[in-house]
Amino acid sequence: MSGLIDYQGIKISLSGKLILDIDHLAVKAHQCTLVTGQNGSGKTTLFKIMSGLLRPDSIQVDYQGLQMSWKQAKPLLQRDIIYLHQQPYLFDASVADNVAYGLYRRGESKNSVQKKVCQALDWANLSHLAQRHAKQLSGGEKQRVALTRARILAPSLLLLDEPTASMDNEAKQQTAHLLQRLKEEGVCVVISSHESHTVDHLADHHLCIEHGKITVIEPVKKSAKVAVLNHAKNTL
């Protein structure tokens, strides 16, 4: 499996305390990586750096065959990688307008945007919510709208921060189902989670962060995935 993006020497300190210190992190194309770690271990900070939203103290990025500094990599990371917050932010507008936001930023025509938004909402079974105001949605619906809004832009990498946290079982199941379909489409996804069993079965690789350092990188065994999947089915 070919490498999509390599991050080297990620370091960031806040108020004099070293928050992240990662020598090397490689993301492979079309793969799903699960990042685990306790609250405060640095998962969100890592995702924000990976997506170009947070400037680290030091980093080297190897992307599209080029070694880049932060300054060179930042616009490319912001263009090609989408980060979804634990509780996604939806703009004060309708669901359809939210999904259309990124397409308009790319300068697409109104007709093209409308067509793509219809298809995307249909894909996520959200067509009935198209004209609903985004602030009125439930947590699960917001997460699915945010996933649809990200998918429509066909990002190189999708970073999902605790995508099923604080959801009821039905919403978790629906979100996990969408994630499964994203994976089947070949979208490269990195998911952070401290809740096992909900999204574990999607992962090809498992990566653990403790106190800002990667402690475990391992491929997920198929037998383990089946066991987790069975457990998830029984739970749900």
């Binding site: 924000k48 997506s51 170009g52 939203l53 912001q78 263009r79 990688i81 989408i82 980060y83 917050h85 509780q87 996604p88 932010y89 703009f91 004060d92 936001y101 990124g102 930023r105 790319r106 105001h133 602030k135 009125q136 809004r149 990200a150 832009l153």
Partner: protein, 233 residues
């Protein structure tokens, strides 16, 4: 009591008869204050955004400075500007003293700290995820800024309206740098002060009524706008 009644009736007659002088004063007042707010607002909003979203040296000092300048009396701004624009002052050659341009400059200086402080509070209350979401979805920073402005529009509109309210009713600065010249720099507050000092209450009441109606309309407009927002959230 009957004097007040008579003056009030005369005031409404003045307004309804389309008295040229009174409508000229009203027109100048609005044109000066709207110009000042239109010039001050964009810069104030951008500065407020930077103060709320980015860390840089002297940031806290700047916030404290704007909060302090918010309560500086208009007459002090007027005096400072008068000294700068007077013939012997450093900007005397511009010959702006006792012109409507000087009044606009004065009102910009008056409204700017209030606009920055209130817009800063609105941006600070904004959800940081809004900015990050806009950027991660491919918006350029200036476009993400407009998105964020839309998300906090109620707070920003309140800031602009408060700024306008401060300058349309101020008298100290306009009197000092405008000079209260009829057909040139006489605005509503300076006209009210002059007519009252002459014992001519009708024109003062008429202009006061205009300010009151404007204030009521602005507040009603904001309430209606904010009410619509609340319904949707």
């Amino acid at each position: 009591m009957s004097d007040i009644k008579q003056a009030s009736i005369a005031a409404f007659e003045l307004l309804l008869s389309g008295d040229q002088t009174i409508w000229e004063i009203i027109s100048l007042s609005f044109s000066v204050s709207l110009s000042a707010i239109a010039i001050a607002s964009p810069l104030a909003l951008i500065l407020a955004f930077f103060l709320a979203f980015f860390q840089f040296p002297l940031r806290r000092a700047l916030i404290a400075l704007f909060n302090t300048f918010m309560s500086v009396p208009a007459v002090v701004i007027g005096l400072t500007l008068y000294l700068l624009l007077s013939r012997s002052g450093p900007l005397g050659e511009l010959k702006l003293l006792f012109t409507d341009k000087a009044m606009i400059i004065g009102q910009i200086l008056l409204s700017f700290p209030l606009l920055v402080a209130m817009a800063h509070a609105a941006f600070q209350a904004a959800d940081r995820r809004a900015w990050e979401t806009a950027i991660t979805l491919g918006a350029k920073p200036w476009r993400a800024f407009f998105t964020l402005m839309f998300e906090v529009r109620f707070g920003l509109i309140a800031a602009v309206v408060a700024g306008f309210g401060r300058v349309i009713a101020e008298i100290g600065c306009s009197m000092m740098v405008g000079g209260n010249i009829l057909h040139a720099t006489r605005n509503i507050p300076t006209a009210i002060a002059l007519e009252t000092s002459k014992g001519e209450f009708a024109q003062g009441i008429a202009l006061g009524v205009v300010l009151l109606i404007m204030s009521l309309s602005l507040n009603a407009g904001i309430s209606l706008f904010q009410g619509k927002g609340e319904l949707r959230t």
